[in-house]
């Protein structure tokens, strides 16, 4: 057991690259996941029959199968249909499609939480539908969806470790490869663990700052989730699948 080695791993280019890859996977998948979720949420709100059918099938597929299955399927099965994607693109595709299915639900609940009367009041003032969306609905919905989206962000960071299965050089794969080569499991995995904890902590801090900046009264709300609960993921909207 060598703390010096843990430190060496922490500052080594390999681990740094692994951590950056994990971060990149998380950010990309989350961004596309939010976009997909938004499209799905709006399709569901639109109440057109095709929109409903398409979203239903999508949600059924991606909420009804394990993410690990989706990752492996996209990487290994799509090529036989002539769709050849790099491991990284496959990983982001699988993670964002999976994320979108959960994000749709979060965004929809946020939009629905803003009562119809609020939109009517905005329209009655002479604002356009877009202005009502932008200045009345979205600011209110944002405050509702931000805590669950923060949870999803932390969940995604952890979920991204799954793509090591298709050989994307993210943090866990790097740690595992290093450990197998040197038999220094404790040191390699401890270094990876420290990176994960550092990243989740930064995410949580960002989330809290963002939540506070969205609070018009700039005051700490009683319902702010305690740090321990965030860390343990025992708040609303579970990010577990």
């Amino acid at each position: 057991m060598s703390l010096a080695l843990v430190f060496d791993y922490l500052v080594s280019p390999t681990f740094l690259r692994g951590a950056m890859m994990t971060l990149l996977l998380t950010v990309c998948s989350l961004a596309f996941g939010v976009l997909i979720g938004l499209v799905v949420a709006l399709l569901q709100e639109s109440r057109t029959r095709t929109g409903q059918a398409v979203t239903l099938v999508y949600l059924w597929l991606f909420r009804g199968t394990p993410v690990l299955f989706q990752i492996i399927f996209i990487y290994n099965v799509l090529p036989s249909f002539g769709i050849r994607l790099s491991a990284f693109v496959s990983a982001v595709l699988a993670l964002s499609l999976n994320e979108g299915a959960y994000m749709a639900e979060i965004l929809r609940s946020g939009l629905q939480a803003v009562k119809k009367g609020q939109r009517v009041a905005g329209l009655a003032l002479g604002l356009t539908s877009f202005q009502v969306m932008r200045h009345v609905v979205v600011p209110q919905a944002a405050r509702i969806v931000l805590p669950p989206i923060g949870n999803q962000m932390i969940g995604m960071l952890k979920l991204s470790a799954l793509v090591s299965v298709i050989a994307v050089e993210e943090l866990l794969l790097v740690a595992n490869q290093t450990a197998s080569a040197t038999f220094r499991y404790f040191e390699a995995l401890t270094a990876a663990g420290i990176y994960y904890l550092a990243m989740t902590t930064v995410f949580m801090a960002l989330q809290m700052l963002l939540e506070r900046s969205l609070d018009p009264k700039k005051r700490q709300r009683a319902r702010n989730v305690p740090l321990a609960e965030r860390l343990l993921g025992i708040t609303r909207a579970p990010a577990i699948r």
Binding site: G117, Q118, V120, A121, G122, L123, A124, L125, G126, L127, T128, Q131, H135, V136, P139, Q140, R143, P216, K217
Partner: protein, 258 residues
């Protein structure tokens, strides 16, 4: 009956009515909610609308500011047919203020910001100018000290007065009030009605759906009674409170007054 009544002593501002509703029809599915309703409102007039729940009072107001499209008939606002201007509805609504039963203040904005939103976003006014307007309007509705308060920090009566100020910020030529005091505790009704009566006295053209007969007596020029989508009776305030109303109106009044 449906001509403009201008009370003696009041300035005859225009020959044409500010608002002219001609035989509008509105159905939701197979329910015919408004049945060939016709109504004129003169500039500076205050019209009170009474009628049982479900008679179509809210729907009538919502049709006037184009929140609901009409199926038939026409609405002229300042001589202009606005009935089928769905794409320009927001331009029409800028000139028509509306106040709701549940206030509908924006909870993420302070009182002043609620009032500033539409002038800034819809008219492109500078924040500084809009803030001046908000300050003046909050004084007008008697709560100058509440500019920075958020809706959940205000009483119902205060919230409704901010909502009135918010509507006034667009300098509307017509105000629509849909049961503005029916969600309020009794002790707060007065402060809201006072503000409305003051606006009416200043010559703000208003259509007020309310069962507050004290307000009607004080501020209304005319009173209409609606039932099942029809305007059953239109009476001047004097005639109405003089007791010359038809049988159905009288029965309804007996109900709400006892």
């Amino acid at each position: 009956m449906a001509t403009t009544d201008i009370r003696p002593g009041e300035a005859a501002t225009t020959a044409k009515p500010q608002l002219e509703i001609m035989a509008i029809d509105k159905s939701f599915g197979s329910n015919r909610i408004l049945k060939a309703c016709s109504l004129n409102v003169a500039a500076q007039e205050t019209l009170v609308v009474i009628g049982p729940s479900g008679s179509g009072k809210s729907t009538l107001l919502r049709c006037v500011n184009l929140l609901e499209p009409v199926d038939a008939g026409n609405i002229f606002f300042e001589g202009r047919d606005i009935t089928r201007e769905a794409d320009k509805a927001h331009l029409v609504r800028r000139e028509i203020g509306m106040v709701f039963q549940n206030f509908e203040l924006f909870p993420h904005l302070s009182a002043a910001e609620n009032i500033m939103l539409a002038p800034v976003r819809a008219l492109g006014m500078s924040r500084a100018d809009a803030h001046d307007i908000a300050t003046a309007l909050l004084a007008k509705v008697h709560i100058p000290e509440k500019a920075d308060a958020f809706p959940d920090e205000l009483s119902g009566g205060q919230q409704q007065r901010v909502a009135i100020a918010r509507a006034l910020a667009m300098k509307p030529k017509l105000m629509l009030y849909d049961e503005p005091t029916s969600a309020l505790d009794p002790e707060m009704i007065r402060e809201v009605l006072d503000v409305m009566a003051e606006l009416s006295a200043e010559g703000m053209t208003s259509i007020v759906v309310t069962h507050e007969m004290g307000f009607a007596r004080r501020a209304a020029d005319r009173i209409i009674f609606m039932e099942a989508g029809e305007i059953i009776e239109t009476a001047t305030s004097d005639a109405f409170f003089g007791g010359s109303v038809n049988e159905r109106t009288r029965r309804f009044l007996d109900q709400i007054l006892h």
